[in-house]
Amino acid sequence: MARSARALLTTIGLAALAFLLSSCDVGGLSPIFPDPVSPNGKGIYDTYVGISVVAIIVFIGVEAALLWVVLRYRRSRQPAGYMPPQVHGHTGLEIGWTIAPLIIVLAIAGYSFVELQKDFQPISNQEMTVKVSGHQFGWDYDYLNGVVVHQEGSLAAEVTPFVVPTNTLVKLQFDANDVIHSWWVPAISGKTDAVPGYDNFSWLKIDKPGKWRGECAELCGSGHAQMQIIVQAMDKSDFEAWMAKQKATTASSSPSPS
């Protein structure tokens, strides 16, 4: 009895922990990504939620079956001298639990594939293109108009922000000139690797002004942790003003051609 009580207590503890994880968003324990600010991030977020619905049902169902075995079929709960039925299998059941997971994973794969086609295809209708280049240890953002933002890596809380206008479809083209880096701002979208010699791309369309943090996600050497990212979205008019200022700075600092 003492042992089954302990098993029960453990289960209740774990259930409480799971509930805590699924309900609280404070104290750094979040069961889900930050609120997405770009449509591709929203698509990923929704896919995650969709898979979670199925995952939680399967998790609860299977753990409950395990718990039932622990509580009901333990030797101390069976009558003395109980001889279990010597079952060697059941074709119907075995086919059943082959087909059911198959249907579930095909559904999840199909659902994910639709999202993959929607948000991960190459785009050509961008309003602006930025070339993002990773190096040891920092990021360069080339706006292809002479302006380049150098986001040098640092362990300090702030690094130079990469500035984009809001509600503008920006295509990001990735490149690296030494080792592999990976650009990741969770609130915007997933990761994109910057591999030397390979073309890779992503895009963003941020719906409100603000600042979002990210980090390099591919181990790239001793300065890997410094490669922090800050993306700052500004209203279009603010962005124009910022860009004009950058152009002026670039013009004054670069040597005159004549």
Binding site: L21, F33, I51, V105, S189, V195
Partner: protein
């Protein structure tokens, strides 16, 4: 029926403390198996100490307990040690000990290849650790992605070279062991031990060996090409070459390696559940089919580690689908285990507790695997702490829990003595709580954007979670200490087990504990996949003369 009891050679006393000459030169699969297991447990302790240093460094933001370079070497050494030198080596060792016994053979098919295969492992381990004593070991993670491991970015030390050489030696050893297992199982089965009567642990070893035989060579090839780049100036994986080609070669080995570590664990679970539930395994044929389904599928999924490098979305879709399909054979195994225990008379001994610990935690690893297989979701989760949590749920909550179950289950066969039950209970409950405390909340760090392999972080929001993880990780360390004390104590002073303490089903329980060098005085007749149980029920089981008698 009278039996002749052969005199036992002196080297077969029950103690671990034999003359060193016996340990160095023995071709006995059982002693080689013990050496594999002891080597792997030493690696486990070393890798665990690395993990504790890593956890201390991450316990608070902006800590500088170790510097970035040392940290990168520690995470690499932790991964390499645990994967290559602990889990794979332990499952090879326990199979080396048990497979010939379970099929009623006298030894492995190639005893001297077995000996060489084992001794290559300490060579591989020492080669890897040479890096630490020559200025610095591998510092690019256990995956060693190029171009970071190329000469241009990694020329200060020989760490990468020592790692590559170590892995080449390791792969050769693995290929030798796999060949040996397959030959043994095909050629040396006892009369009556048809393929349809092989214990599921042996089937698991067949599938594991096939897998390692196929994927060991591409791994060695990747390492050789990397060394060509570093030492001969070729450009296979350099910035001017094709860094992504390395990832393909590495993961063509790297993903099946996961199954090399988990299939023997599945085999162990399939042996232990029927014994303690007092029911035959549910769906023997579908269990075997599921093993080979996993073998096939596991070689078609490697690029799911590369969803962020920028592949065609249809190629990504293919790898996503194949990855998710692995849930089907794994699900069959899972439901068959539950069905085996259903209606049973389940005795929750320590090994059975670890089996249920395995089932409860491995399920979580399987479910998070579905999230990671989904390409869009993976682009968020990839290379974050979510992945670290997932891989520990399958490797620790899966393989290591099964290994612990195996240790408690087969220790009496190997030593003739039971492990202490009270210490075993402590071991189970502390590792179960410590493990979940460490890795369950680690998922949330990844969701919040903490990448793996960063040596420090500035974000104060991650501090609370990290400190809870660090405290829990020390509970795991305490638990492993309890296990080690239990093993060392019980080896000399444990309760005498007798030949068949659990009323087992398979042939190893028909011989003495520990078994003699020739394994069986008479190989018992085999009439089903539970030969010892058949004999017990028909009254034909001849108790072998016990080796250990209470003093």
């Amino acid at each position: 029926m009278a039996t002749t009891v052969l005199p036992r050679p002196k080297q077969y006393d029950d103690t671990f403390f034999k003359p060193i000459s016996i340990w160095l030169t023995t071709t006995d699969h059982k002693l080689i198996g013990i050496m594999y297991m002891v080597t792997s447990i030493i690696s486990f302790v070393i890798g665990g100490i690395f993990a504790l240093i890593i956890r201390l460094q991450l316990s608070q933001p902006n800590l500088k307990l170790v510097d970035a370079e040392t940290y990168n070497q520690l995470i690499s050494a932790h991964g390499v040690t645990m994967i290559f030198f602990f889990v794979t080596i332990f499952v090879t060792g326990i199979a080396n000990y048990m497979v010939p016994l379970m099929i009623g053979a006298r030894d492995m098919a190639f005893p001297r290849v077995n000996l060489l295969g084992f001794w290559l492992i300490p060579v591989a381990i020492i080669l890897y650790y040479c890096g630490f004593f020559t200025g610095g070991s591998l510092n690019a993670g256990w995956t060693g992605y190029t171009p970071l491991t190329e000469k241009a970015f990694n020329h200060q030390t020989f760490g990468v070279d020592f790692w590559a050489l170590s892995i080449i030696v390791w792969a050769i050893s693995g290929i030798m062991a796999s060949t040996n297992f397959l030959t043994t199982i095909v050629a040396l089965r006892a009369p009556g031990m048809r393929f349809s009567r092989l214990p599921l642990f042996v089937w698991a070893q067949i599938s594991t060996s096939i897998l390692l035989l196929i994927v060991g060579a591409p791994l060695a090839a990747a390492m050789i090409l990397l060394e060509f780049d570093r030492q001969l100036g070729t450009q296979f994986f350099t910035t001017q070459g094709r860094p992504v080609l390395y990832q393909h070669l590495f993961w063509f080995f790297g993903h099946p390696e996961v199954y090399v570590m988990i299939l023997p664990a599945f085999g162990l679970i399939s042996e232990i559940v029927p014994v303690f539930a007092r029911k035959p395994i549910f769906g023997y044929m579908s269990m075997v089919a599921a093993l080979f389904g996993i073998v096939f599928l596991s070689m078609t999924v490697w690029a799911h580690h590369m969803f962020t490098v920028g592949m065609n979305t249809y190629v990504e879709g293919f790898f996503m689908l194949m990855t998710m399909l692995i849930a089907v054979p794994t699900g069959i195994k899972f439901f068959n285990w539950i069905a085996t225990a259903w209606w049973g008379s389940v005795e929750f001994t320590v090994p059975m507790k670890f089996v249920f610990g395995f089932l409860a935690t491995f399920l979580i690893g399987g479910i998070t695997g579905i999230y990671l297989a989904s390409v869009p979701v993976d682009t968020q989760l990839h290379q974050s702490y979510f992945v670290v949590a997932h891989l520990h749920y399958v490797l620790f909550g899966g393989s290591v829990f099964a290994i612990l179950a195996g240790i408690y289950y087969w220790f009496p066969k190997i030593t003739g003595r039971l492990l202490n039950r009270t210490l075993g209970e402590w071991n189970f409950w502390t590792v179960f709580v410590g493990f979940n405390g460490t890795f369950l909340i680690m998922h949330t760090l990844g969701l919040e954007g903490m990448p793996r392999r960063i040596w420090t972080y500035a974000n104060p929001a991650w501090a609370t979670t990290n400190v809870i993880i660090t405290i829990s990780s020390f509970l795991i360390a305490f638990s492993i200490l309890v296990l080690l004390i239990n093993v060392v104590h019980s080896w000399g002073h444990g309760e005498i087990a007798g030949n068949d303490p659990w009323r087992g089903n398979t042939l190893e329980w028909a011989t003495t504990s520990p078994p003699p060098p020739y394994n069986f005085e008479r190989v018992p007749p085999v009439r089903s996949f539970m030969p010892v149980r058949d004999l017990r029920e028909s009254g034909e089981l001849i108790e072998a003369e016990p080796v250990l008698t209470p003093t």
